[in-house]
């Protein structure tokens, strides 16, 4: 009975998403009189740039208001309902002090640098360095409407397959070779390291951690419920072009990259979705990555990618810290006890599991068989050096 209810809800959600995607162009979120795709470095420095950024400010404002409202609502509920007492403000609002935190690993620092550099390149790269390699396609969710991005994004032709096959054969081959080449060498490292939407979501997560706000803890059931939605979005992504729609009206990435590059772009449902992505990723790290159609496509090739997550099943104590830390909710990483390779199709190679693993060498990231990041107890415990007792401190 329960499963029947779940199926009905899933089908309804999918139909809703489908209709929204199809009729997205009817619901403008923010419309300029004309879409002005011209941009230059001078424009970026001029006052006009602020005008093109208006939709971005609206989105940031809306998501900030949404986040604050959710937090306040939760606190109000906490006062009346015991079930929500875990969000009781008495403990969190005066959240002084710092939770023990390990020293940043080189891997994580590099990841952040690469993410920021790649976001800059994918947004303003063309303007700064020219369009030398713009015919290459990277499977990354950075909007190709931004004509100034350093390289092309595969997402445009993947969501406009009918247009792809009208291109000259050379371009088709270049598209497939570069896309597949990147997938083979980098795999979903693209999600964890290069994707600008990923960077935005990680920044939101950092904001939450800085403010010590409670997130939303996902469990197996919720991840399970999201999976069919993920597949349906992939179907829309590939199929909408044949039904006469346009996925770009629906894609949240449209709302970021072209606007930042100085193009005044009208936003349809995409802008509204971006607000949801910002809010979602504040409470749940990498919320959009769970349904990202491009990530799903890259996941098909997870078996051939050169980056891998390896596990030494002998040293694992099944403490589940990796699962708790994983933004994608991959449970297999801690239940696996035979295979050394635990690369999952959902894995975005963010390295969070390795960072949180307290057993020496139990988890590691490898590139072409070489270890690049290994778990260690010493690193985990590097944040716990203080021995003082809180109540002793208070007295003295």
């Amino acid at each position: 009975m329960r499963s029947k209810k779940r199926i009905i809800i899933t089908v309804l959600v999918c139909i809703g998403i489908g209709l929204l995607a199809y009729f997205a162009w009817l619901f403008p979120f923010y419309v300029f009189e004309t879409n002005d795709f011209d941009t230059s470095i001078e424009k970026l420095l001029s006052f006009d740039y602020l005008k093109t950024l208006v939709p971005l400010f609206i989105m940031i404002g809306l998501s900030a208001a949404g986040i604050i409202m959710i937090v306040l609502l939760r606190r109000m509920l906490a006062k009346s309902d015991k079930k929500f007492s875990r969000f009781a403000d008495v403990r969190t609002s005066r959240a002084r002090g710092k939770a023990p935190k390990q020293k940043p690993a080189a891997f994580m620092v590099i990841r952040w640098i690469v993410m920021i550099v790649s976001a800059i390149l994918l947004i303003w790269g063309g303007l700064i360095f020219g369009m030398g390699i713009s015919s290459l396609s990277i499977p990354v969710l950075s909007c190709p409407w931004n004509t100034e991005e350093m390289t092309n994004s595969s997402c445009y032709y993947l969501s406009h397959l009918n247009e792809l096959f009208e291109l000259p054969i050379g371009n088709i081959l270049l598209f497939f070779i570069s896309t597949l080449g990147f997938i083979f060498v980098l795999g979903r490292v693209i999600c964890g390291f290069l994707c600008p939407v990923g960077l935005i979501q990680d920044i939101m997560d950092k904001l939450r951690k800085k403010t010590n706000t409670e997130g939303i803890k996902m469990n197996e059931k919720m991840y399970g419920a999201i999976t069919p939605v993920k597949w349906f979005i992939l179907l829309i992504f590939i199929g909408l072009c044949f039904a006469g729609g346009n996925f770009c009206n629906f894609c949240p990435a449209v709302a970021v990259s072209p606007i930042l590059a100085g193009m005044s772009t009208s936003l349809y449902v995409s802008g509204f979705l971006m607000v949801l992505v910002l809010m979602g990723s504040f409470f749940k790290r990498r919320a959009f990555c769970m349904v990202c159609p491009l990530g799903t496509i890259m996941g098909f090739f997870h078996k051939i990618s050169l980056f891998r997550v390896k596990k030494d099943c002998q040293s694992c104590t099944e403490c589940g810290a990796c699962y708790e830390a994983c933004p994608m909710g991959i449970k297999m990483i801690y239940t696996e006890r035979d295979k050394a390779d635990v690369t999952h199709s959902n894995c975005i190679m963010c390295g969070e599991c390795v960072r949180c693993c307290p057993e020496d060498n139990a988890l590691s990231m490898t590139f072409a068989g070489k270890k690049i990041y290994t778990s260690s107890r010493k690193k985990i415990m590097s944040g716990y050096e203080e021995v003082r007792n809180y109540y002793d401190d208070k007295k003295g």
């Binding site: 403990r91 010590n212 002998q314 104590t317 949180c356 021995v387």
Partner: protein
């Protein structure tokens, strides 16, 4: 006249109880001290055990005005420290209390619970009497009933331990920790805040870091420390604050490190390396590790919940909000715990295999306290699994008395001889590469 006589009888019983209790504890402490090869810096641990069991003193120290008794490894000490109380592990190994508890608890109850019942009955042990609250995770039927018995002397919180470790179970356990938090606050009068909880995480984390260093040093070949001494250290952790214990352990680690430099080891002989697993071994019931080491073996690994296993896994904060920290506590309490109370406990076998590999174990002694059903159930499976690896296992059933010592000695002696016979013709004990 009658009343006076009754009083004197009670007093005489009490005096006899105290005498017997202190004598046995002092005896086992002396045997531990007499065992050769102890590292420097063991004094704080011996002193603690002596203070609690021989001098019969309180455990609390410093700014802690309350002690909270805990029973199994599932109780998160961080929460108790955050409330401003000191956690004390009350699982007992006391023979004298056992003989009292034998009359109260049913015949088939396990001796650990009988000993706790005995202490409760006499009301003489200050560590027990001092507790403002007792937290009893329901890991077996005996624990469930003892929680009921204890509740007419002291406030008791029970923690329901689920049979599996799924996400829902962890969530349910987190909710229980939240209600436990309220109870703790009521008892101590302090509020658990984000700040105090993160302080507590640091304190316990520091102790756990020192423990992991200690175990890393303990694994070294040839041995730097005997298993019985390690057990004394880990048993003393029950009655010391995590900060004090960590500091004392740090000194032991330093002295072990100088042993590496000076190439000093416990013994020059090649002793059979034995893994001790099964029911908890609580001071003063340390007869089995003592018998192993007095008969020429060495307890190279121990997989018991009062030993290495109990404090090994740290609570990893993956989300630094208050709720995230509570989740980390619930996660640590259940997921890595190889307690046989869980229906599917195959991870314990992996843990044992891991210890066998890391410590180059040659034989496994499976300790079962009489009446400890959950551990006894798992013996068969572990025997099968270890049989595949060609590692000898024996099951030692013991009770909290000294009557079975000779019988245990014969079996342990024979087991050690068996291992020696096995290792002699090969002359090598190479590291096992794979399973």
């Amino acid at each position: 006249m009658m009343i006076k006589k009754a009083e004197t009888l009670r007093q005489r019983q009490d005096r006899r109880f105290i005498n017997k209790e202190t004598q046995t504890s002092a005896k086992y402490l002396r045997r531990l001290k007499e065992l050769s090869g102890a590292p420097d810096g063991m004094e704080p641990f011996y002193d603690t055990l002596e203070r609690i069991y021989v001098d019969m003193d309180y455990a609390k120290s410093g700014a802690y005005h309350h002690t909270v008794g805990t029973y199994c490894v599932m109780t998160p000490p961080e929460l108790i420290y955050a409330a401003g109380a000191m956690p004390v592990k009350l699982c007992s190994g006391n023979y004298t209390a056992f003989s009292v508890g034998d009359d109260i608890a049913p015949r088939d109850a396990c001796p650990l619970v009988k000993a706790v019942a005995g202490f409760k009955q006499t009301g003489l042990m200050p560590v027990y009497e001092d507790c403002s609250l007792m937290i009893v995770p329901i890991t077996c039927d005996c624990k469930k009933k003892i929680a009921g018995m204890l509740s007419d002397r002291c406030e008791v919180v029970t923690l329901h331990i689920p049979a599996a470790r799924n996400d829902e179970d962890i969530e349910e356990f987190t909710r229980q920790l939240y209600s436990l938090m309220e109870r703790l606050e009521n008892v101590t009068g302090n509020q658990i805040t984000y700040e105090s909880l993160s302080y507590a995480f640091r304190m316990v984390g520091y102790a756990q870091y020192e423990l992991s260093e200690f175990i890393r040093l303990k694994k070294q070949m040839p041995y730097l420390i005997r298993g019985s001494h390690a057990m004394a250290i880990l048993n003393a952790a029950s009655y010391m604050t995590a900060g004090d214990w960590g500091k004392a352990l740090h000194r032991v680690n330093e002295s072990l490190k100088t042993r590496i430099d000076g190439r000093k080891t416990v013994t020059s002989k090649k002793l059979p390396r034995i893994l001790l697993t099964g029911s908890p071994i609580v001071f003063p019931n340390v007869k089995i590790p003592l018998l192993i080491e007095e008969n020429g073996g060495i307890v190279a690994g121990d997989e018991t919940c009062m030993g290495e296993r109990g404090m090994w896994d740290p609570a990893v904060i993956t989300d630094n909000s208050f709720d995230g920290m509570m989740n980390a506590l619930a996660n640590r309490a259940l997921r890595p715990c190889p307690c046989p109370t869980f229906a599917d406990n195959s991870q314990r076998i992996y843990r044992i295999k891991q210890l066998i590999k890391e410590n180059q174990i040659q034989g496994v002694i499976y300790h079962v306290l009489r009446g400890c059903l959950v551990y006894d159930f798992e013996y068969r499976r572990i025997e099968d699994e270890l049989g595949k690896l060609g590692i000898p296992v024996i099951r030692l059933e013991s009770d909290y008395n000294e009557e079975d010592i000779e019988q245990l000695r014969i079996r342990i002696e024979a087991f050690i001889e068996l291992i020696k016979l096995k290792q002699e013709p090969e002359k090598i004990t190479a590291v096992r590469k794979s399973f």
